[in-house]
């Protein structure tokens, strides 16, 4: 069971959270057509490596937040608030490897 650090509540067990999928996905425009809609509806990053994703602390504060996690080791690198900018993955990875 993953231990996830909610930016608002601190580290809590996975069963308190719902995974929401890739973070920073821009919703398509209301008049979008073809590939633009399909991309938004059906295509998400499925990275084998560092993935920026969104979680919700359903059995806690109820807030959505984002995280960067490595999808092979399942280790979280960082969690951050939903309106924070997407972190620089390259810098994060360098930090992680250095540690």
């Amino acid at each position: 069971m993953l231990l996830i650090t909610c930016p608002y509540c601190g580290p809590r067990p996975e069963i308190e959270f719902a995974a929401r999928g890739e973070a920073h996905v821009a919703r398509c425009a209301p008049d979008a057509t073809g590939d633009a809609i399909a991309d938004f509806l059906y295509f998400r990053a499925n990275t084998k490596g560092y993935l920026a994703e969104c979680w919700r602390h359903v059995s806690g504060c109820g807030r959505f937040f984002n995280a960067v996690r490595h999808t092979v080791t399942d280790k979280f690198v960082t969690t951050y608030k939903v309106d924070d900018p997407r972190p620089d993955l390259a810098a994060l990875v360098a930090e992680e490897t250095a540690r």
């Binding site: 996975e14 399909a38 509806l41 059906y42 295509f43 998400r44 499925n46 990275t47 084998k48 092979v72």
Partner: protein, 416 residues
């Protein structure tokens, strides 16, 4: 060497010293007509059908580890075709018909056991959903029956149909032609038959890139054993599909999630069929060795870790104990995970891609094992002809762009 009781008997006299390799393990040639990326059941089956039905023998199956080491070796072995939508019914029943003669076709006992798959209904909503499946199956000519709770208990003695549990069983559908097979044997059986027809099976060979020519068409795969050229490449890599397709610059509508399963210690026969429940998330059968084989749901996040959380295992076992209260003292012997590639509509993708010469077979999610012969057969036909086989046609990659989904979410849920 032909497998039979007689050959086994003869071999016994020479202490089994003369059995040949079941498949050759050559070094890769510099080029082939077709390369299949992924040495699981689907990929090996595709190679076999390319050789046996289309006369295309200059084929290599390239596998990064050992064949059948991915989901083929990790699934809960359920085979059925009682899906809801016409396209799915055609797809899975095509596979089921191939299963029915597979051991004989491959001369390898894959232990295909048509002992029946029973899907339990616990609520009014379940009954409505299953009856819709039943009617659709009948129209499609797929065997499907409705059982009352008592009939379900008679078909699978030990099933708890008490009205006093939280979600009592109110009925069930039964597909008698459905059942289980021995997963490893399927991979090995296809490998042996394909190898005998000239297919090269290259293990421990990881694909690291897809080389394309100036016109964008595929030229070959870059691997840990060097470049191997081919004008046609079929990718059949299950949970690792996104990684491979990314090498060709193709984005896939897939999400790779962990899926767990477990076996109990071996018991004398107690469960004679396959029992599945979507509502309380569990499915169970008993292998020919005596282990109870039990499946769970996926963990909820993207992961290639092939492991998962304790809460998933616990959630499945509490459901199993409600359905079969005499099993509460039975013990879990081994628990593992795989990586399943899920699409939004819970239907697979099988066909061409925007890259000329590149074909893909993926998105089988939690339900790929049952389709193994069918997926291989259709992938082979699609690669051989360069156009999708009619049964595969609806499962094209471009259905997402068009919004023509084949939404089996109702049928799939956690089922296999």
């Amino acid at each position: 060497m032909h497998f039979s009781f007689l050959s086994l008997l003869r071999a016994a006299f020479s202490a089994h010293q003369n059995w040949p390799e079941q498949w050759r393990s050559p070094e890769p040639k510099s080029s082939y007509d077709v390369i299949i990326v992924g040495g699981g059941g689907h990929g090996l089956a595709a190679a076999y059908y390319l050789a046996s039905e289309h006369g295309i023998r200059n084929v290599a199956v390239v596998e990064k580890g050992w064949i059948g080491g991915g989901n083929t070796g990790r699934n809960t072995t359920i085979v059925r075709s009682n899906y809801l939508l016409e396209e799915s019914e055609a797809l899975y029943d095509h596979a089921l018909k191939l299963w029915e003669n597979l051991s004989q076709a491959l001369n390898y006992n894959v232990m295909f056991s048509q002992r029946g798959v029973m899907m339990l209904a616990h609520t009014v909503h379940d009954v409505q959903s299953f009856k819709r499946h039943l009617h659709a199956n009948r129209l499609a000519g797929i065997d499907a029956e409705w059982l009352t709770a008592e009939q379900a208990r008679d078909f699978c003695p030990g099933l708890n149909i008490s009205p006093n549990i939280r979600y009592p069983v109110v009925g069930a559908t039964l597909q008698r032609r459905a059942g289980t097979a021995r997963h490893d044997a399927v991979a090995w059986g296809y490998a042996r038959a394909a190898s005998a027809l000239g297919v090269d099976i290259i293990q421990n060979c990881e694909v690291t890139g897809i080389r394309r020519g100036p016109d964008g068409a595929v030229e070959g795969v870059e691997t840990s054993k060097g470049l191997i050229r081919a004008k046609k490449i079929g990718v059949s890599a299950a949970g690792n599909t996104s990684v491979i397709m990314d090498m060709a610059g193709i984005r896939m509508p897939l999400e790779s999630n962990p899926l767990q399963a477990l076996v109990s210690e071996p018991l004398k026969p107690i469960i004679s069929c396959v029992v599945m429940s979507n509502t309380i998330h569990a499915y169970i059968s008993q292998s020919d060795k005596g282990d109870l084989v039990i499946g769970a749901g996926t963990d909820q996040y993207v992961s290639y870790s092939q492991t998962g959380g304790l809460q998933i295992t616990a959630h499945t076992l509490d459901a199993i104990c409600e359905l079969f209260p005499t099993l509460r003292r039975v013990r879990m012997m081994r628990n593992w995970g795989g990586i399943v590639d899920n699409t939004t509509d819970r239907s697979p993708i099988l066909g061409k891609t925007p890259v000329p010469g590149l074909f893909v077979n993926c998105g089988w999610g939690t339900g790929g094992f049952k389709a193994t012969p069918g997926a291989g057969h259709l992938l082979a036909a699609t690669i051989a002809k360069g156009e999708p086989h009619p049964i595969a046609a609806p499962f094209s990659l471009d259905r997402f762009a068009r919004g023509r989904l084949i939404d089996e979410a109702a049928a799939a849920a956690v089922a296999h």
